[in-house]
Amino acid sequence: MSNSRNIVIAGAAGQGVDSAVALAGKVLLKAGFQLFITADYQSRVRGGHNFMRIRFSDQPLLAAVTSIDYLLALNEESLLLHLPDLKNDGLAFVMAADATNLKDQRIITLPATVGPKAAQGTTFTGIKLLSLLFVKLGLSMAIFKQTIEREFSQKISQALLKTNLDTISEIATFFAPDFPQVLDFAAKPEPRRMLVNGNESIALGMIAAGIGVYTAYPMTPSTSVLNVLAGCGPQLGIAVEQVEDEIAALNAALGASYAGARAATGSSGAGICLMAEAIGMAGICEIPIVIFDAQRSSPATGMATRTEQADLLFVAHVSHGDFPRLIIAPANHTESFYLSAEAFNLADKWQIPVFILSDQAQASADCSVEEFDLEKVSIDRGVIAAEPQSNEMLRRYEVTENGISARAFPQLSQWLISSDSHEHNEIGQVSDDIDNRNRQHQKRMRKLKYLAASLPAPEIIGAPADKLIICWGSTVGPVLEAAEIFRAQGNQLAVAIFQYLYPLNRERIEKVLAPFNNIYTIEGNYSGQLGKLLQMETSVRITGHIGKTDGRLFTVEDVLQNFSKLVGG
């Protein structure tokens, strides 16, 4: 945690916390820092209390921290709420009027009078406090101004823009001479570095994979994937639709996939519930489909803007009956891109539903990543049937050893293709013949076996050690960083990162986990869902589970505290 600083900007909904943070993020990115920005929102548009954390460093960051180096409080309540987390050598920036009752050396107040006349109102608080901070950090005011000009010139009046710029200048002049505090790490500018949230990475990965159709019904925190795809759909040839409900969303996506597009849908837990039946249809019809689940606090409506990792056991078993599926959980924003692209290849190869399991913590965290390398992405549509001489029914469900039968697409081929949600024979005719049923069911289930065997083992970091921590998704970042600190403190602790959560490659997993005597799960849920899956599917036994269900992400400190408890410290 040394080589980083943590800024917190806090205020009421509607006060512009998010735009101040967006701005700060852009400035710091441009300046050459690595970033990890997280938000803590209430499900309301005005009022309440929101705050965001901007962590920056010269190294890649994959987690948020609790302790604050710089607090920008847009109102008094925010100052009071967050002071307890401000480090002893931290600083709080606040308008003078918001800190009248507080005596704390760490608080730097800005008199209302500093800044141009036009900026005396409260709407400029964000800009003012940011200017103060950047001066303090010794950052280039030129970058700040350029960023504001680029971001705002289209959106606000010239006069307003000028007021913003003047505010920065005046505050810089007012404070600059005796103020700068030197950071103990240096920026490393890299123009191709990107600042993306988890959903944006996923959407970009889908685009790289050649997605053609995305159908969804809005649901926090999945909606931004819909937004990104809808935004570039016209230009890139992606048909995107907000349909009437999630049932329509998945059924339409299945129709699109049958017809030859790469198709996906996305939602959060409640919406996935409504897709349950059509997930089974994808299973028996063997229609490749990618389903994005941005998990949030549960059950039911839960806490709409809060995170959780509690959909795993549900999606692992969703829809009645046995059929193969695949669950992928990217552990960071870079993986979100590559694994989302790969999801379509795996869906096409195995002709199954593939879930991308993310959560609110990942969806709303902005992270700096190196520009995605398109050399690492390939498009593989799986087995396509050779063209027939004339119109003929395709043996769409031909029984094969690995369970995979060749596909073709209506009108794009001479084949006529029947896909059926009943049990069906090889040409897709409904059938309840005993032998046919056994052959078809076994064919589908053989895919699951071969698929499992093809999946990589989890990566183990920090071995040898007696104790192992298992984690996935948004929990990986904080666990890895905490484990590094923990080991640096002289403890032994290894970490296993799972990206492929179902099916589990039993042999490989048992092998790499064999050396550990005590295996713990850290997951953002109550019951330790990945641990339960492991117990169900392998001989691995879980010693204990560290859960978190309050809807907030794990910070590095949260994890560290738990480590100390584990080793009985």
Binding site: K26, L29, K30, T147, P191, R193, M194, L195, I207, A209, G210, G212, V213, T215, C232, G233, P234, Q235, L236, G237, A239, V243, E244, D245, A248, N251, A252, A253, L254, G255, A256, S257, Y258, A259, G260, A261, R262, E277, A278, M281, C285, E371, F372, L374, V377, I379, N391, P410, Q411, L412, S413, L416, I417, S418, S419, D420, S421, H422, Q429, V430
Partner: protein, 286 residues
């Protein structure tokens, strides 16, 4: 009829089931229009009527109960050059799938919806469909349904369908000709087909319908929505107009979408390369 889409699979309906007529008429209509088997897809729900597609040699996506229209939506998104027919029963389209009817109609998706209206759930052995009369009694409704029957044509018109018709399997010529028009229509086309279930609807029999249906009078203005909506407010226990209620030329689904012009996405997909994403990276760079 010797069409390329004749199939070896014999329909498993009760002898005398109205659906046989629907199947015949559809084959005739498709033949008459000279539509190639590779150029159309049937999206089906679940029910007796929904099984129709199994008896054609054609592209078939036989989906879930109630969900034929969303499948059709996806088919048209991936390939807007396909002809798509959504085929199922009144339980499937109007009970389980009622929401999709509203929204697919108002989008004016270019699909031909053939709804077999026997006022009963045939496949599950005789529960009331939404089109059943309030007095219709079944094992589930020993006291009658008590509900106003849903009139599909009225709902479809209210929602924005641009082709709305009613037909009766007792008049196969009219049905065939309506099917031809509906298939040629650009936009959302519903034909609500009165197709008696001989096994589980002992009230609304062939004879019962025969007595009540009549072809729409010639002076009905088929391009007038208000007139069509007025026409659709009949008493379904007394008199049922068959024929074309309404047809209008309106922008079909996708007309406003750049992605859905020209070549279909299904075809273009074959040339999509990972590099297509490259141009977006700048949005996230500083």
């Amino acid at each position: 009829m010797n069409c390329e889409y004749e199939s070896a699979f014999v329909p498993q309906w009760c002898p005398g089931c109205g659906n046989f007529v629907t199947l015949d008429c559809l084959q005739t209509a498709l033949c008459n229009l000279n539509i190639k088997a590779r150029d159309f897809v049937i999206a089906a729900g679940i029910g007796q009527a929904a099984k129709l597609g199994f008896s054609l040699k054609c592209n078939l996506l036989a989906g879930l109960h109630g969900r034929a229209l969303p499948l059709a939506m996806g088919l048209k998104m991936a390939n807007h050059q396909l002809k798509v027919l959504a085929i199922s029963g009144d339980g499937c389209f109007y009970a389980e799938g009622g929401n999709h009817l509203l929204h697919t109609a108002r989008r004016n998706l270019d699909v031909t919806m053939l709804a077999s209206d026997n006022r009963v759930f045939g496949l599950t052995k005789g529960q009331a469909a939404p089109t059943a009369a309030a007095t219709f009694t079944t094992k589930v409704h020993p006291e009658g349904t008590g509900a106003k029957p849903l009139e599909p044509t009225l709902i479809a018109l209210s929602a924005g369908a641009t082709f709305v018709a009613k037909a009766f399997t007792g008049n196969p010529e009219e049905l065939t000709s309506l099917m031809e028009k509906a298939i040629q229509h650009k936009g959302f086309a519903l034909i609500d087909i009165l197709a008696p279930c001989i096994s589980f609807n002992k009230v609304n029999t062939f004879a019962w319908f025969k007595k009540r249906v009549h072809s729409i009078s010639a002076d009905h203005d088929q391009n007038n929505l208000a007139a069509a909506i007025e026409l659709a407010q009949f008493d379904p226990e007394v008199t049922i107009p068959t024929g074309l209620y309404y047809q209008a030329k309106k922008p079909v689904y996708g007309r406003n979408k750049k992605a859905l012009q020209g070549e279909s996405i299904a075809i273009r997909t074959q040339n999509y390369k990972p590099e297509r994403v490259k141009g977006l990276f700048a949005n996230y760079q500083s």
